[in-house]
């Protein structure tokens, strides 16, 4: 079978190592990944703050393209893209007039037939059932699984995991040989888009997250969102300023940690691209 792939902007730029690790892990399990051709921006935070129709039309175009390409299921590793695509699908399913209008805006029929998977759902569906015997180098670390805001919210629409105390990533890491810690900041805000405009605030918000992970003895923070990764990794200088100490816990994408566990090469997983050196 072929799994559709929507990378979104981050996975082609600041978090290309996320894309690399997703593809590497998929390859290791012989899962054919096919990128959606001619894909566009999902609209991210900007579109739905400005124009509702635009915020639906952009993701709808991506889904229409996937339909045209004959993809029945797509994986969307970026949590923000996943949220936008899923919300669009939900809203258009509930309103046939709007659905027709959006198809008209895009000049492209939107059926709503594509199944959207976030990275955890993809791994749970296609990889973890086949993981037995494949974990050659167990990720033998205490890990803090950080879900952020968009992977599990809004629950009414995503219907994925528990919004206040998610467990899916912890369970996955357990299977990869890691020891997930019980901590308090799994879904707290990392500062998200303020990464660029107000780095000081990000230093504080992400600092609270990294600080709690450190206090509870985490040796790595595991994420599933490019924005979370940027803030916790790239803004480590500001974080450490806020914490008043040098904390060098690395931040890994869930696919990178899993990739290491099944014996993939560090470079293949893009682990050389991080700001905080990955020594694990």
């Amino acid at each position: 079978m072929t799994l559709g792939f929507y990378p979104g902007c981050s996975l082609k730029g600041s978090s290309r190592e996320y894309a690399e690790s997703v593809l590497a892990v998929a390859k290791a399990f012989d899962i054919a990944i096919e990128e959606i051709q001619d894909w566009n921006c999902c609209g991210a935070t900007a579109a739905h703050n400005m124009n509702r129709e635009l915020s639906l039309a952009l993701p709808a175009r991506i889904l229409s393209l996937a339909e045209k390409q004959g993809l029945s299921e797509i994986v969307v590793p970026c949590a923000a893209c996943y949220s936008r695509l899923t919300v669009t699908q939900h809203e258009l399913a509930a309103d046939q007039t709007l659905k027709a209008r959006i198809s008209e805006v895009n000049g492209m029929e939107y059926k709503g037939s594509v199944t959207i998977l976030n990275i955890i759902q993809m791994l749970d569906k296609y990889i973890t059932p086949r993981l037995e015997g494949k974990v050659v180098k167990p990720f033998n670390k205490k890990v803090a699984c950080y879900y952020g805001c968009l992977l599990v919210r809004p629950h009414e629409i995503l219907k994925f995991d528990r919004e206040e105390d998610p467990q899916s990533m912890d369970e996955l890491m357990l299977k990869a040989g890691a020891t997930p810690i019980d901590w308090a900041f799994k879904t707290e805000c990392c500062g998200a888009g303020l990464s660029v405009s107000r780095t000081h605030s990000v230093g504080k918000l992400s600092g609270l997250i990294v600080g709690d992970a450190k206090d509870r003895g985490a040796e790595a923070i595991i994420v599933a969102c490019p924005m979370c990764h940027s803030n916790l990794d790239m803004r480590r200088k500001e974080i450490n300023e806020y914490l008043g100490e040098k904390v060098d816990i690395p931040v890994l994408y869930v696919t990178q940690a899993l990739g290491l566990a099944i014996g993939l090469d560090k470079k293949e997983l893009g682990l050389n691209r991080h700001f905080v050196k990955v020594t694990v």
């Binding site: 629950h155 528990r162 206040e164 105390d165 019980d182 901590w183 308090a184 707290e188 709690d212 206090d215």
Partner: protein, 667 residues
């Protein structure tokens, strides 16, 4: 020739603002057989009813159509008015212009047309109505009260004191309910046990009350005045007549680590146990799920130590069949369970507890003998946080309603804490303070002003543990949404009050309606708060909605009066809207061919076989016969009958056909 009167009601603006009532009356007046028609603002009022009565007398009406609200609302009112004017009450029909027209349609031509159509079909129907006589049924003057909390106790005592018999069943080994778990009660801080336990004793000793503890309703059949209930008396593994309640068995039982339900898991109990020292009845039961003997076939220590040889390991559940005339439902409520609050760490951190658990900590009979000590290490908490609306008024949690009792018990908890832990600091996170009730607001002010409880207006987003403290992250909306982090030693969640897990199943068993949250539904939110839509079944206490003690007690007394009213009559009258099998002259006797398909169709077992015998006593034909006392008039048998031999009085084939034809024909 029919002389029918049509009476169109405006229902104030309910109908009048949407339907052109004057035109409905005018058009109806021109219909064949209508002798009189009129519209009036409130037809159910005294002048409105007089209008109907005088028209019957003056115009010699043979039938009446009242076009107003739902017949569920006022059909009895108008039928009674007709009867008072000398017209057979079953010659009166109602067209529902409110629920079926004005409340569901916009104002306009088509809406008024629909109203006229509804009147038209009933005018045609009434032409075929027949005078019917009400059915009389006897009343069994014994009440069944389900649930032995304060509501059930009060209802039982009140009914029993009117001289009628009461059977009180309680699923737990003791009566007392949630109230027996409480420490002090608001707004007076009098001790819950001190005011409750005497009533529990009174129940046990009352000559008119039969108490079945550890018992549940198995099944129910029948109708108002004539219910038959089967009660499952769960085996206590004990001969209650022999047991003296000495308690030796409970001290010797080796299984001692079962979380006590009475202490909300904060204390332990044994496998043979009395829930609490003041229990009524004060005799133990064996919890078979935990008893070593039932699990492994060995032990029987209680049997060996019992001085009166009262233990009965082989005792089985028994089914008690009772006949009763009325039922009071007083099954109470539950609180939300741990998994509901992952963000508050309830179930994860031992020192995050529910309000009910705090009651046990504060109670003199509780696991700490009334000292406020936290569950994890028995230390006295120096900082304590109370979180109001934990689940309640939170649509994301699926509970949009207010649990009502929490604002008051939190004020009480904080007050008790301040009284017991001098120098301790208490915080209450709240949305609004709802202290409507006599002396309630004053009570909350007292907590804030005299006892120095810190009230913070805002919600708590998360509670987590750090360095042995519980960090309560919240916000103070009165300080410009300032984030507030409090390092607490213990947190009390005012968890939402919810319906019992088995509420839905019980409601279905009893054919009582319930709301979206599985609370039992009252017949009318204002005027019939203790009645259900099922005649003869009444409600008391928190099974209907979250209620505090005074309200539960008032409701219970209200329900008791309703039962007493019912029992003040020797016979009840029932609407004769029941099925009948036609009878004809011999030698046919009836068109019924005796296939008895109706017997299998009837959900009420109301159809029996009747043998027609000749003078020699030989059976010449067997027919179906409907027992008028049991038939509920559902009409299922009518649909099943292959020879159209059964008809429903008041809703005959002829009447239905006429209604349809009236609708199809132009006028």
């Amino acid at each position: 020739m029919s002389k029918i009167g049509v009476f169109v009601c405006h229902c104030g603006e309910n109908i009048g603002a949407t339907v052109d009532c004057a035109r409905v009356a005018e058009t109806s007046g021109k219909l064949d057989g209508v002798a009189y028609s009129v519209d009036y603002k409130y037809m159910c009022s005294d002048p409105g009813q007089s209008l109907i009565k005088s028209a019957i007398a003056e115009k010699g009406l043979t039938g009446v159509v009242v076009a107003a609200c739902s017949p569920r609302m006022h059909e009895p009112t108008f039928r009674k008015a007709c009867a008072e004017a000398g017209l057979n009450p079953y010659m009166c029909e109602m067209a529902n212009l409110r629920e079926h027209v004005s409340w569901v349609h916009e104002k306009g031509e088509a809406t008024t047309e629909k109203a006229i159509d509804l009147v038209r079909i009933l005018v045609e129907k009434v032409k075929y109505n027949q005078s019917l006589n009400a059915i009389k049924v006897p009343v069994t003057k014994t009440a069944l009260v389900i649930g032995g909390g304060i509501a059930g106790i009060q209802a039982s005592l009140d009914i029993a004191n009117t001289g009628h018999k009461v059977i009180l069943i309680e699923k737990d080994p003791s009566i007392g309910g949630h109230m027996s778990q409480l420490s002090e009660t608001f707004p007076t801080l009098d001790c819950s046990q001190c005011i409750l336990t005497p009533r529990m004793v009174e129940v046990a000793q009352h000559p008119n009350i039969t108490l079945y503890s550890y018992a549940e309703l198995e099944s129910i059949e029948g109708f108002i005045g004539n219910f038959k209930a089967k009660i499952r008396r769960k085996s206590k593994s004990l001969d209650e007549k022999l047991c003296t309640g000495c308690g030796l068995c409970t001290t010797k039982c080796p299984v001692k680590k079962i979380p006590s339900e009475f202490n909300e898991g904060l204390g332990m109990r044994t496998a043979i146990y009395v829930p609490f020292p003041q229990a009524v009845p004060n005799k133990p039961v064996i919890d078979r799920e935990h008893c070593t003997y039932y699990l492994k076939g060995k032990c029987r220590i209680c049997e060996k130590v019992c001085p009166t040889q009262a233990i009965r390991f082989d005792q089985k559940d028994t089914i008690e069949e009772v006949e009763i005339g009325a039922i009071v439902l007083a099954t109470g409520f539950s609180v939300k369970q741990p998994d509901f609050f992952p963000e508050y760490g309830y179930g994860k951190y031992p020192d995050v507890i529910t309000g009910l658990q705090f009651e046990r900590l504060a109670s003199a009979s509780g696991p700490t003998l009334g000292e406020i000590r936290r569950p994890s290490d028995s230390k006295v908490p120096q900082n304590i946080v109370f979180v109001a609306c934990a689940g309640s008024r939170d649509e994301a949690k699926g509970i949009p309603y207010c649990s009502k009792i929490c604002c008051m018990y939190i004020a009480k908890h904080a007050m008790l804490y301040q009284h017991k832990v001098h120098g301790g600091k208490s915080y209450v996170f709240y949305m609004d303070i709802r202290a409507g009730g006599k002396n309630y607001e004053e009570f909350v002010r007292r907590a804030i002003e005299e006892d120095g409880v810190n009230y913070v207006r805002g919600r708590v987003s998360r509670i987590y543990e750090k360095n042995g403290k519980l960090i309560v992250k919240g916000v103070d909306t009165l300080l410009g949404a300032m984030p507030v982090d409090i390092e607490a030693d213990m947190v009390v969640l005012a968890t939402a009050g919810v319906a019992n897990n088995d509420a839905e199943a019980l409601a279905q068993k009893l054919h009582v309606s319930y709301d979206a949250y599985k609370f039992f539904a009252e017949a009318h939110p204002k005027l019939k708060p203790v009645e259900t839509n099922t005649a003869g079944i009444f409600l008391a206490g928190a099974c209907q909605a979250p209620r505090d003690i005074p309200e539960s007690v008032s409701m219970a007394s209200g329900a008791a009066v309703k039962v007493a009213c019912l029992f003040s009559q020797d016979e009840l009258t029932r609407d004769p809207l029941i099925a009948v099998v036609n009878r004809m002259a011999p030698p046919v006797y009836s068109s019924c061919v005796g296939c008895f398909l109706c017997v299998s169709a009837c959900p009420y077992q109301a159809i029996e076989k009747e043998e027609i015998k000749n003078r020699a006593g030989e059976v010449i034909k067997t027919l179906a016969r409907v027992n008028p006392g049991l038939c509920q008039g559902c009409g299922t048998c009518v649909a099943f009958c292959r020879t159209k031999s059964i008809d429903l009085q008041g809703y005959t084939h002829e009447q239905m056909y006429t209604e349809v034809m009236a609708l199809l024909n132009e006028y």
